[in-house]
Amino acid sequence: MLSRADEFKQRSTAALLDPELKRAMGKAKGGFQEKRRNAVDLLPEFEALKQTARELKEHTLHNLDFYLERYEEAVTAAGGQVHWASTTEEAREIILKICRDAGAKRVTKGKSMVGEEMGINEVLERAGFEPVETDLGEYIIQLAKEPPSHIIAPAVHMTKDQITDLFHAHHQKYGLTGRVTEVAAIVNEARTVLRDKFLSADVGITGANFLIAETGSSIIVTNEGNGDLTNTLPPVHIVTAGIEKVVPTLEDVSTILRLLARSATGQETSVYTTFSTGPKRSRDLDGPSEYHVVLLDNGRSQMLGNEFHEMLRCIRCGACMNHCPVYQSVGGHAYGWVYPGPMGSVLTPLMVGLDKSFDLPNACTLNGRCKEVCPMSIPLPDMLRKLRERGYDQRLMPLRARAALRLWAYFARRPKLYRLATRIGMGLLGALGKRRGRFRWLPFASGWTDARDLPAPQGVTFQAALKKRGRGT
């Protein structure tokens, strides 16, 4: 998918002014947070599971070459094929070739973020295939010709009324001419339309939440059952997965699965957790006769060796964005690429380039909630800070900001001068702002005062106040 992460400022400004988006995001936010909280509270072993999951994932990453080779051997032994791709271009070619060899027309798709990395829908369309997203949220945004705005709830930015309009516009060709306005009717209409697509698909593409080295299995976790119809009905099943998805054993994945649904949707477990291993066996009455796995690197192996290594533990649950005040305000599209929110602000610079996404790591309040709720204990704020440092070193920061930082650093290194300067500054602002208690406008501060007033300081610096209080006690 083409990145527009360099337009973050414009896109987030537009998002903040979009009343529909505000309404949709407002509805989602509390639900995600409260459900997760309840699910975690009900499991006393949650912290112990987190610790174990972190350790076993680190163990796997430190031996990633070994586990990927064992995984490949197991897939082959089960009659499947593993295809390796170091770039998204390579991955697209592999998928196109499999579809062509299968003589395919219609390709059903389960939700896959790696598929989004490749922009696989567009590629399939251009090559003359008919890709059909089958996860309801993905189906909705495919009709709207939009990218997902959340990694587990792709249409979270849309309201029910918008979906009603969209279905009305697109479903008349199937003879469904009425407007569906209730959630039940909307879901039922999608079920009807997609049922025919499932049954007539030639290839099914799904993602993978995990890959298992022990057995060569790929795992998908869904609530709708769309992934299962995608990987059972067509004669060819293609799995797309990042190389970091592998875990050693069935026991290991059991541990991480206990964290995934609770962190994502607050469920103890998703409705369907499905382990696929190879194509149908000789006496099976259904199932695909071909099973392919496309293993994608796309910058992951680079991360393995640098300070962003821990990001490879990510299991794509979405808890970080569900708890991020920036994401909650601007929505996922502002981030401009596949992965939004805190995890996206780390991944996009690493996969697309920091020079094309420098605003993302800066659009963070460093409040630390993402790190707190991350089931894999990924230090997201630390990584965002490192990316800011990288950006400073690479001179990606605007000149004025660099100059301001340098000025601040000059004073910060000279405590006496710093105290003197802040005392004068605060005294002055305190006196000027005494009458109103706030400023509507200040020189050099329009970035703040354009959108809101700046509260006037009380006239005393923090350090001075602290000193005084210390003396008083």
């Binding site: 295809h83 499932f198 409705v271 259904d286």
Partner: protein
């Protein structure tokens, strides 16, 4: 693309600072970890496993009927069909474990994989999972996977002795009884659902609208 395979692996090895191939002792230790998998943290599951299974399954709107013996299954299926106004047509998995059911001759029964227009399927299950109220079904000639997803109503016959506590117990049983992974292992916890329209939970997304467990024993 074999070139890509070598490139990816070489990049990984470079990132991990590996100077040469892994030593035999390291490989042996890693292989041992794969061949004798160990369970990690298993959450405490208190109380009777059958009660727990029922409570958890019902909490996600899976219906549970408990009957004393296989002879009673036909009646329980009949009740389900009546309750939801369904036709007396069943697609039953060709599962030897279901042979003891004495089907009422009122039913029209076919034993095969599912088609898109089937209303009701009846299958067995490999296991039940008390931890989360989950059914475990293995694909095979006796248990076609489409029966678990295409029909509106999925009725699962589960013997109480097949209920285990944790997911890890399923793996132990699978290794012991089957020796290898079937094409598909389905963990199913309740009827199909979605929350993609304004985060409102709606059942009957793409899979079964209703899930009924008939617990035998």
């Amino acid at each position: 693309m074999s070139g890509a395979r070598e490139r990816v692996l070489a990049n990984i090895r470079a990132a991990l600072n590996r100077k040469g191939p892994m030593t035999d002792s390291v490989t042996a230790a890693l292989d041992a970890r794969l061949k004798t998998p160990r369970a990690n943290v298993k959450p405490a599951v208190e109380g009777d496993v059958v009660e727990r299974f029922i409570q958890k399954m019902e909490s996600v709107h899976g219906a549970v009927t408990r009957v004393a013996a296989m002879e009673k299954v036909s009646e329980a299926v009949d009740d389900h069909l009546k309750q939801h106004g369904l036709p007396l047509e069943l697609v039953v998995a060709p599962d030897p474990g279901l042979e003891d059911i004495r089907w009422s001759n009122r039913f029209a029964i076919e034993r095969r994989a599912a088609s898109g227009s089937d209303r009701v399927s009846v299958t067995g299950a490999f296991a039940g999972l008390a931890e989360t109220g989950t059914l475990v079904l293995l694909s095979g000639p006796e248990s076609p996977t489409t029966l678990n997803f295409l029909p509106d109503d999925h009725i699962v016959v589960l013997r109480v002795e097949r209920i285990v506590t944790h997911m890890e117990d399923v793996w132990a049983r699978l290794r012991k009884e089957r020796g290898q992974m079937p094409r598909t292992v389905n963990f199913i916890t309740g009827p199909s659902k979605t929350a993609d329209v304004e985060q409102t939970i709606q059942e009957g997304a793409h899979g079964p609208r209703r899930l009924r467990v008939i617990l035998v024993g």
